[in-house]
């Protein structure tokens, strides 16, 4: 229950997935938290068990099922829901948002926004204007301007075990970074700030592609040499895509870029990694999707980035290969030989 001391602020979290729950728990150390759960049944279960996404909930987190309540009682809100539901959730929340609100999201996916009646064809290919990061969705759908995002190596399980970690809060507004820092920082959770909002968002989004690749490397039984090769080439690919979509190189070589990339590519705790691993073991993408509890954002991201890269004319060998595997046009074994023959010229050409 919410403690009586009125000096504590009320902060909102939307989405009780594993990352949303982890963030709610961190926030609860300093503030009282409202945690929004869409599904009423699930909300009831969490309320009685005090367990969400197999994480124990702090006492001062209150479960709510109304977005209105979140909007009206919290000035700062952390939306952390899958990218596929993000826009519709923001639309439902929008009527309760005022220009004084601050939104810091933690979703690592992209939004496809193709206007009705538009057909994506060769003549009219998918372009940047059809693809939105989550902060862009918020700016498009609401009157809120003070927007930020969270990204970094933050595996929910390790956070729950109260192990040390750090994250990046990115925003064009210093006050948003400051607020995020004040709310999240504690003696085992460090916060860095960045003003490259799009760059940091893209770090979180693009690393999921490489994580799937890394899972596949393990699934094939390859060793750490191969993984390191994949990770370092993956970073280069992320930077090329990131630059084309409006992010700066700097973001990618920091905590949210390299940092998160290493964590997700080397830990079997990561969902996207699991997807790759199971693909390599011979399961189809539909089998994998059907049996996962939470969405692996990387699958959707691969699809979008592949099409974008085609229309932007940039080379994305890893994304392309994974795209072929997912669509059954190449086996994991074939991809291995294909990839080893890929003609790279300069190793690093962006610094």
């Amino acid at each position: 229950m919410i403690s009586k001391s009125s000096s504590r602020r009320l902060v909102g979290v939307i989405g009780a997935g594993s990352f949303g729950t982890a963030i709610a728990n961190i926030l609860a150390e300093k503030s009282d938290v409202l945690l929004y759960v869409r599904d009423k049944e699930k909300a009831k279960a969490i309320m009685t068990d005090r367990v969400s996404s197999s994480q124990h909930l702090e006492e001062n987190i209150t479960i709510v099922t109304s977005l209105e309540e979140i909007g009206n009682s919290c000035e700062i809100i952390f939306p952390i829901v899958p990218s596929a539901n993000f826009r519709s959730m923001i639309r439902d929340l929008a009527p309760y948002l005022k220009p004084y609100h601050v939104l810091i999201h933690g979703t690592k996916g992209l939004d496809l926004n193709i206007p009705e009646g538009t057909v994506i064809t060769k003549e009219n290919p998918l372009s940047r204007k059809h693809v939105r990061t989550m902060s862009e969705v918020i700016l498009e759908e609401t009157s809120v301007l003070r927007v930020g995002c969270l990204a970094g190596p933050n595996l929910a399980k390790e956070i729950e075990q109260r192990q040390p970690a750090a994250t990046v809060v990115a925003s064009h507004f210093e006050e948003v970074i400051d607020e995020g820092q004040k709310l999240l920082k504690n003696d085992r959770f460090m916060i860095y700030g960045s003003n490259d909002l799009i760059g940091i968002e893209l770090c979180g989004v693009l690393k999921n592609i490489i994580a799937i690749g890394s899972g596949a490397v393990s699934g094939m039984g390859l060793g750490e040499n191969a993984r390191s090769l994949l990770i370092s080439r993956g970073l280069v690919e992320m930077i090329h895509i990131g630059n084309a979509l409006g992010g700066n190189t700097k973001a990618f070589i920091g905590l949210a870029g390299v940092g998160d990339l290493i964590a997700t590519c080397t830990s079997s705790l990561s969902r996207n990694y699991t997807v790759g691993y199971r693909l390599a073991k011979g399961e189809t993408i539909d089998q994998i999707k059907g049996s996962m509890e939470e969405v692996a954002e990387g699958i959707n991201t691969i699809q979008i980035i592949k099409e974008l890269a085609d229309s932007l004319n940039i080379r994305v060998p890893i994304t392309e290969t994974l795209h072929k595997i997912i669509h059954g046009k190449m086996t994991v074994a074939e991809s291995h030989t294909y990839f080893m023959k890929f003609p790279f010229r300069a190793e690093i050409d962006f610094i």
Partner: protein, 563 residues
Amino acid sequence: MKSLGIKRKTKTKYKPILKNNKTWPVMQMAKKRKEFVHLVTEESFDNLLELRRGKSLKEELEMTIFRERQRVKNNPWKVDPDDDYSYWEGQNEKLVGVDALPEEEQEPRLKEILRDVVDRYSNEIAGHFNPSHYNVTRTLVTIGFGRLLNAARVKGPWSVFSNQLDLDDKIHVKGKLDELRKLAKIGTVVMVPTHYSNLDSVLIGWVIQHLGLPPFIYGAGLNLFNLKIFAYFMNSVGAYKVDRRKKNPLYLETLKSYSTIAIREGCHSLFFPGGTRSRSGKIEKSLKLGLLGTAIEAQRQVFQSEEEDQNKVFVVPVAINYHFVLEAPSLINDYLKRKGQQRYYEENDEFTTSYKISKFLLKFFTKGSDISVSIGDALDVLGNHVDAKGNSLDKQGEVIDIKDYFKSNGEVTENHQREQEYNRILGKKIVEEYHKHNRVFSSHLVAYVAFRMLGRIHKHLDLYGLLRLQDDDLVIDYEVFKKQFVVILDELKKLNAQNEVGLADHLLGDIDGVITHGLKNLGMYHAVIPVVKNKKGNIKVQSMNLLYYYHNKLQGYDLEKFF
């Protein structure tokens, strides 16, 4: 001329929105000039003591005084005060003398110098609005130009006294006029026009009084005051002076305070947010955000005040279009030179003497060539649209309270980084509005199509290669040209239907007529007409640089792909 037989259309005459000119904010400001200047001094002084960019007050003063002494020596202007030299030498001596003082007296002495310099700056910047001059100028401009116009276009000995043609036959003011008049009554208007020509400020001055609005204050480049004809006009319309030679923080802070206080106190203002005239002829893409930021700061200060009646600031983008920009040759040369690939010899600025300007004005008002001024949708200082009552609307059309944008933990706070970001957002929005309200003229379209076709034919050439094309390479077959012209015009009509761009009425006639109209009007007073029809009836380009300049007006609409 044929049109003379046509009966005059009944025109809307706009009554002044404030009957009593004593209630004009700018009058109040002129009356209390001394108090106003004092207020500017005090606020800039306080701000300067508060924000120090990693320098001590002494270093800041040393730098400023050093640069001012350099300026007096190397770049003196006619308008500079007579005591410029002695003043800055005097300040320098005072500053040097500070070290000899006992420690506890040093700080107060430095502050004294700072206040003195800032006070001089505020006095320099402040305008000399004079209501009787204002009335004289206004009458002169309207009647004088009106007479010239009639004398030239209405035949017969009494033509000078004819009333058949007014200035508003020549200048088409379109867009949200009534909204602007309404908003000017309930709040403070900051008008932000595009900027192509030195004529713009005169033009906007005329539009403002034509719409019955009280005078707007306007930061005019001090270089314009070197010219008597402009100086008189500027002083009478409530212009204040911006000296681009002075780039020191003390001066800039004073300038900002001046503008902020004026807006806060309800003076309608005019900025050219592009900073200077568009060198390339393109619609402004990146705006100089400095003065624009004062609108945001003023709005926040209003919200911070405890007063009941909280004045709202409205930002109104205005797109100006000409067939012909007098300065085009030098502007485009300047642009190309800056881009640096080719050597251009310097040309004189056409606006160097009063004689030249008068000659131009005479030509301008006696011959064809229309001008359009499109008043855009009013925005609040965050770039949201506002309704007729001045309420800010969000994307769903719901009323929002923009005071909330300045709040943190429930209170309005002063946060410069936040406001800088808002400034960037507002700037982006203004650029969008420019594109929407830009009105395409036949001449722009002719230039655009001709230039792009040549670019397409000579695919292998870069911009500078294109500009160097000679003779036969500069001829385009008329029928081919016409075909392409229709394609682009149709695309523009589609954009127009989606409210993405405005089209001049003369674009709706038959195609040959539109092309002829465009050829006739495109840069019509330049020594070299940019494009003509040659003897065989084909399109012949005579000046690639000018063609490029006028073509740029249609950049940014993604039309390139149709070639």
